[in-house]
């Protein structure tokens, strides 16, 4: 453990949808360059926690910090919008269902936000798109529409789109769960590449072997609490908690 301030600091996160308490006092610190996996059964609050980080699902209690900036601070509406739009530029997010913009070609999917928010010229934006699409191995499809791509290709473009904003952190919410099994690996490879470049990442996943191979730390969540956390070899090989053991056993059986 380092003694510096955490890069991402979630303090006592609490979230309710109406009377349903989805996150119950969760704290999580992530250092710069660290890769954290979040695993747990469906409905345990993994997405909600991830989406709280960029305030897509605002917390009902607790704080989220990125470096020395509080993300979910209370501000008058206008100021809050300005603040959160700035913060979100620094946090890349990748969704289970890709959410590419279907009316735009791959190139414009990647250049839209940098052009609009950073005022990049057409030439600079194109260079950026080419750079990011090369990185994810999608440069040959730069002039295709999303509908002309496979799921794995779509997800790689979605990653390039997020990377084009040069985020400090990348959040992945089951990035490979919607993919046919044979397309999972190409997306995992891209994520591994980011790991090698020391991108700070929080990855919600059901891919235990992938999590074990790339992550520095694993969190097991259940019913809105972090049941157990630790290095992957401990969580996966030697979990202390009964619930973790149970979950992993079921998961292995299902993956079987």
């Amino acid at each position: 453990m380092s003694d510096q301030k955490p890069f991402i600091d979630i303090r006592h996160a609490q979230k309710s949808f109406g009377t349903l308490e989805v996150l119950k006092d969760i704290s999580l610190q992530v250092d710069r360059g660290q890769i954290v996996a979040i695993i747990g059964p469906s409905g345990s609050g993994k997405s909600t926690l991830l989406r709280a980080i960029n305030d897509l699902d605002p917390l009902t209690g607790g704080e989220v910090w990125l470096e020395d900036k509080q993300i979910n601070k209370t501000l008058p509406h206008r100021q809050y919008e300005k603040h959160i739009n700035e913060v979100r530029q620094e946090i890349g997010m990748v969704f289970q269902h890709f959410n590419l913009f279907p009316h735009l070609k791959v190139r414009e999917n990647v250049t839209l936000a940098p052009k609009m928010l950073k005022g990049l010229s057409d030439d600079d934006a194109n260079a950026l798109a080419e750079e990011q699409l090369t990185k994810v191995g999608m440069i040959e499809r730069i002039d295709y529409y999303p509908s002309q791509l496979s799921g794995g290709q779509k997800q790689r473009v979605a990653i390039a789109r997020a990377l084009a904003m040069k985020p400090k952190v990348m959040l992945f919410d089951e990035a490979t769960s919607a993919l046919d099994p044979e397309l999972v690996e190409e997306v995992n490879l891209v994520m591994k590449k980011l790991a090698e470049e020391h991108m700070t990442m929080i990855i919600v996943t059901h891919e235990m072997s992938f999590a074990e191979s790339v992550c520095d730390r694993v969190l097991f969540m259940d019913q809105g609490v972090v049941v157990e956390e630790g290095p992957p070899e401990v969580i996966f090989r030697n979990p202390k908690s009964e619930r973790t053991q149970h979950f992993l056993r079921n998961h292995l059986a299902a993956a079987g």
Partner: protein
């Protein structure tokens, strides 16, 4: 007195000029109804109540009263309070706003039908609500609603004949003038019907091209 289509050539230029006016009115009103429809849809969905309500009353009036009356009101009524609009402009605006209200209903439905994940992805990149709406949601909503909007445009072409009542020499009024000189209503009305039909075919052809073009972007 039997049918005699030989009277037509002499008056063909009047009728064709009328056809050009009809096309001009239709195009002008189509543009007003398209962008007006998007504007009204955004107001209806996102504006604060004190903005939304006046527009709702406006929409209700346009939906609930005859187009003919609206044209009279814009052309003759506005002059009385000192606003003198040319008949052509009054026609384009009246027809355009009338259909903008219809289009607005279609746009509202299609805006709401755009997957929420689209807005989320845009907001996650740092776009503001308005930026996301403008660059991500509206283009998709418009794309999805092209076929019924196209039908409205064709209805608009047919209703453009009403603009003759405020004295714009469009196709129908030109025909009536030719008939006034020749007493040959059947011949000229058949001609005019054929011309409307041809313009209609032209609009449908454009529409089909647009639909094919946007097919890939789904």
């Amino acid at each position: 007195m039997g049918l005699d289509f030989s009277v037509i050539p002499k008056y063909l230029d009047i009728v064709l000029i009328g056809a050009l006016w009809t096309i001009a009115i239709t195009l002008g009103a189509a543009v007003v109804s398209f962008f007006g429809g998007i504007f009204l849809a955004i107001v209806a969905l996102y504006a604060p109540a004190f903005v939304r309500w006046p527009f709702r009353v406006f929409s209700f009036l346009f939906l609930g009263t005859p187009l003919l009356l609206q044209l009279f009101l814009i052309y003759f009524g506005l002059v009385q309070i000192g606003i003198d609009v040319p008949a052509f402009v009054a026609g384009v605006v009246g027809l355009g706003l009338h259909f903008a209200v219809y289009n607005s209903e279609l746009f509202q439905t299609s805006i709401l039908a755009v997957d929420k994940g689209q807005t989320e992805a845009a907001r996650t990149l740092g776009l503001s609500r308005m930026q996301a709406l403008r660059t991500v949601v509206i283009p998709q909503a418009v794309r999805d609603v092209i076929p019924p909007i196209g039908n409205n445009m064709i209805a608009l072409l047919k209703d453009s004949a009403l603009v003759s009542v405020i004295g714009v020499s469009e196709l129908t009024l030109s025909a009536q003038r030719a008939i006034g000189s020749t007493y040959r209503p059947f011949e000229f009305y058949v001609l005019v019907a054929a011309i409307y039909y041809i313009i209609n075919l032209g609009m449908e052809a454009v529409l089909r091209r647009v639909e094919r073009r946007i097919q890939a972007s789904r």
